[in-house]
Amino acid sequence: MTIKIWKHFPREDLYECYQCARCTGSCPAMEVAPAYGPRETILKCLNLGHDKVVEDEKVWLCCTCNVCEDRCPQKIPISDLLVALRNSAARRGNIPTRLSMALELLAKTGRSMIVHQLDEMRAHHGLSPLPAAPVEELRDILKKTGRDEVIEF
């Protein structure tokens, strides 16, 4: 079951999780989104396998703050695992719209937000307009990191 996860995350220590829940107890994301908890994600990796975990939208709730990892008695690199899971999820199309939209914007405009209104505001305060974003370079990065598979641009 864990075989596929290992392809993205080759660490045996996943098996050593005690399910003690110190990670979930420390997680700031859990404070905001009570449905989430890294302990449960790890249990799902072990018991349900890769495919089920990457279908789960909860993997997108982690904010990679690393607190869980600091407190995990087994030193499991939990946030690295979540990054790996999200990469895998994104490739399968499990990516929240707000994120894929931001990525698309990034590819098209070089920024993850719409900024033309910002320019008006900046002008109002006597600030120069924002410099042009390095769109080509960003697209290159998106290609090299495989993000082009996830979004179209």
């Binding site: 005690y18 399910q19 003690c20 829940a21 110190r22 990670c23 979930t24 107890g25 420390s26 997680c27 859990m30 009570p34 908890g37 302990r39 449960e40 607190v67 869980c68 407190r71 008695p73 087994q74 030193k75």
Partner: protein, 806 residues
């Protein structure tokens, strides 16, 4: 079946049921053995160690005039004594037995490759046959065992061991570091699972030690030096001054007079004691002592004599001195016990920062009637009785951030503590946050169920964080109840951390003094985990109590009685046989250069240039063999591990496909045992390694390494105990020196020096042994036959040059 100057070897290939037979084709191995030089007969059997198996060997010795026996089976560390005894009872000298380890070093570590395992087993048998042909009968010398014992550590285990040996009639020295015996058990309020009052059941035993005519109690004492060996240890003990004489009646008149204060260690620092004090009311000896670090007279001048003035018996003596005592003992029991884990490092729990977060040891003192609060459970912040109490399990245990093992006693200890609170203050709400509740012992499950019936709430999931309300001192626990999959926020008045136990902080000092081994967790290692659970690898030294591994009082006492009875056996016999593995100097070849004497870790070689000779003192030689490779004139050799015996093993190991092989030398105590442990744990590793056992890695001669490479060995491993753990007083520093010199030589001659590896592998590091072999195998794959051939020629050339020169 070839004849060899009258040598007639019988070879027995054991199936060990399916343990070997399931992987190695034993009949084929026996068939192969039949054509080896000197082999008179070879056969396979289902269980060679069984009665019929042994009878077969005895029968064959008589019937077929066998004069050597090779048993290919499990590790010699297990059954060598069995088969030696079988040989002896058939009239064959026990030293004419040789074993091939085809289980731990073969079938168990190559489970999935029957062909390779069978081929390896053939090589191992050929090596054993080669060595067997060179074996000589040996006769062991007998040394007397002094009928006196020393026990190190006066906890419940040390107390029990001392009493058992003293009751058997032997003189016992009980050495305790602190001012009183009693150990952890004296600090505990009640004991699980029976809820007995701890000090009430311990105190009678403590006083018995104090009065026993055969026990000399040495408190405030530490072992400084241990020389000698089984039956005859010479020990130096530093007995620190107590500054209060035996006449002290423990009236306590001096206490109030003392102006100096210190945290009270016995009460886990929760209260204050004076510079003159008694560790606790029931202390044995029941004599006060002066803590000189706190006393105003610590510079040597008497600046204060208030306590002296207060004492009506005038038994305070500031002029007292530390003493060094010399003890001669035959046996030693180590019972140094445990310390508790300090949770300060787990900052998210706030221990040391939030006053109302305490440990279970502090709780024991709080709830004890003789403790700092007179048995009242109070919060340190406001001395209020807590209404809501939380216990957090596995603190400092089962964690790579602290100790990876389960501490064994903390689950039941918490159950006991929760019940104690319920007993005194039934309205208290108690929450236990846990991962697993381990209630495995007799009476444990009952106690656990009782706690549940009494209303203790068990929540699965350890809090990730504790937040303190600065105003009230209350604590909020954040976490997840994993069974409900729901987050919790529990407000508590008090949090008790169920801290684990770890080896006593002095454990490594005792380990070095007695040449003991420790496991990866730092607890002392038994000679065999199942069959010799209280023996150590140092003859005459036994283990008792929690120093050997986390355990409760009952198990500590059981083990202490076992250790005492093992020591009693030695002392009642009064003599012991020493293995015939000492070194010998051939006076004809010795030039009296004295190099050997310089490396001997036991000063067992005496002589001088003036006298014109050196010789080995047999009774002092421990048989490490470190001296042998040091001699440039070939004057030294080690009995039963002779040069020609090992060379025949090397010849047999490298007879076929040497380029693909790793020749490994492993010391008996650590590395060979580590390889055994890899087998026991079924850790799989490449099959091309051939292991030769020596007692110490320092016996490994550079000439063997040279020979192996000249024969075309792909790689050579020299492995021994970790530097501080050498069983022969750091003899293995010679190993390192010699290997380093050989590396330099390889470098100079342009030979890839990675082909020779030096690795320290302890008896607990089976995985490490496997890892080393895997890495060496990876290196070997990168070598070409041509490189191996060229290196062999270079070494051969320099060897020929050297021998021409002499």
């Amino acid at each position: 079946m070839a004849d060899l100057n009258g040598i007639r070897i019988g070879v027995y290939v054991c199936h060990c049921g399916k343990n070997i037979g399931g992987t190695v084709r034993c009949d084929e191995v026996a068939e192969y053995a039949r054509q080896l030089p000197g082999v008179a007969l070879a056969t396979d059997s289902l269980y060679t160690c069984s009665e019929p198996g042994q009878e077969q060997i005895k029968h064959d010795i008589r019937e077929h005039q066998l004069n050597r026996v090779v048993v290919a089976s499990c590790t010699p560390r297990l059954h060598e004594p069995t088969f030696r005894a079988a040989c002896e009872s058939a009239g064959l000298n026990p030293y004419l037995l040789e074993m091939a380890n085809i289980r731990e070093h073969c079938s168990w570590v190559h489970l999935h490759d029957k062909d390779a395992a069978t081929e390896k087993a053939k090589d191992l048998v050929a090596m054993a046959v080669g060595r067997a042909a060179k074996l000589m009968p040996q006769f062991e010398v007998t040394v007397p065992v002094a009928r006196k014992a020393m026990v190190i550590g006066g906890g419940v285990a040390g107390i029990q061991a001392a009493l058992d040996m003293a009751d058997a009639g032997y003189q016992v020295y009980l050495v305790e570091r602190t001012g009183s015996i009693g150990g952890r058990m004296a600090q505990i309020d009640k004991t699980f699972p029976t809820m007995d009052c701890s000090i009430c059941i311990l105190a009678p035993k403590m006083s018995e030690v104090g009065r026993h005519p055969n026990i000399e109690l040495l408190t405030l004492s530490e072992v400084q030096e241990v020389q000698g060996h089984i039956g005859n240890f010479k020990v130096k003990v530093l007995k620190k001054a107590r500054y209060v004489t035996k006449e002290c009646t423990a009236c306590g008149d001096c206490i109030k007079a003392s102006p100096q204060h210190a945290p009270d260690e016995f009460n886990a620092g929760l209260s204050i004691r004076r510079a003159i004090y008694i560790p606790f009311a029931q202390a044995v000896p029941s004599t006060f002592l002066v803590d000189m670090d706190r006393c105003l007279n610590n510079s040597g001048i008497v600046a204060c004599d208030r306590c002296f003035q207060a004492c009506s018996h005038k038994c305070i003596d500031f002029a007292a001195n530390d003493e060094v005592l010399d003890l001669d003992v035959g046996t030693i029991v180590v019972a140094t016990g445990v310390d508790v884990y300090d949770p300060t490092a787990l900052t998210e729990l706030g221990y040391g920062k939030f006053p109302n977060v305490i440990t279970t040891l502090e709780f024991e003192r709080l709830i004890n009637a003789g403790g700092p609060s007179g048995g009242e459970l109070i919060r340190p912040s406001d001395r209020r009785r807590p209404q809501r109490v939380a216990f957090l399990q596995c603190i400092g245990s089962r964690s790579k951030r602290s100790n990876p093992y389960c501490s064994n006693v903390c689950c039941m200890n918490t159950v006991k503590d929760a019940l104690l609170i319920k007993e005194h203050w039934p309205d208290t709400e108690i929450y236990v946050f846990y991962i697993d509740i381990r209630a495995f012992g007799k009476g444990f499950e009952d106690l656990f169920q009782r706690a549940r019936r009494e209303g203790v709430t068990f929540v699965r999931g350890i809090p990730g964080e504790i937040i303190e309300d600065i105003k009230t001192g209350d604590l909020t626990l954040l976490g997840e109840n994993t069974l409900l999959g729901k987050h919790y926020r529990h407000r508590m008045d008090m949090v008790i951390l169920s801290v684990g136990i770890k080896p006593h902080k002095d454990a490594d000092k005792i380990q070095r003094l007695l040449n003991l081994a420790t496991d990866t967790d730092g607890f002392y290692m038994e000679a065999h985990p199942k069959l010799r659970p209280v023996d150590t690898t140092t003859g005459g030294v036994f283990l008792a109590g929690a120093a050997e591994g986390p355990k409760d009082i009952k198990d500590s006492v059981t083990q202490a009685s076992a250790a005492a009875s093992r020591a009693n056996i030695l002392m009642s016999r009064g003599e012991v046989k020493i293995p015939a593995i000492t070194s010998r100097i051939d006076p004809k070849k010795c030039t009296a250069c004295g190099l050997c004497a310089r490396v001997c870790p036991y000063h067992a070689i005496e002589g001088s240039k003036e006298q014109g000779f050196y010789r080995v003192i047999e009774a002092a030689c421990q048989g490490c063999g470190a001296c042998v490779p040091e001699c440039r004139f070939g004057a030294l050799d080690q009995t039963h591990f002779t040069e020609d015996q090992i060379v025949s093993q090397i010849n047999a190991a490298l007879a076929s496909d040497p380029h693909d092989k790793i020749l490994a030398f492993a010391c008996n105590w650590c590395s060979y045992a580590g390889a055994d442990f890899a087998g026991v744990s079924r850790i799989q590793y490449p099959h091309n390694v051939r292991i030769i056992r020596t007692m110490c890695s320092a016996r490994v001669s550079p000439s063997w390494i040279e020979k192996a490479f000249i024969m075309g060995a792909g790689a050579v491993l020299v492995s021994g105990c970790h530097p501080a753990d050498c069983h022969y007083n750091n003899a293995n520093q010679n190993t390192a020196r010699r290997v380093e010199r050989f590396w330099k030589r390889m470098e100079k001659q342009g030979i890839n020096k990675d082909r020779l590896r030096l690795a320290w592998v302890s008896a607990a590091e089976g995985a490490q042994f496997a890892k080393v072999i895997k890495e060496m195998e990876a290196g070997l794959k990168k070598l070409t036959s041509q490189q191996i051939q060229e290196a062999a020629e270079k070494l051969q050339k320099s060897l020929t040059k050297k021998s021409e020169a002499t």
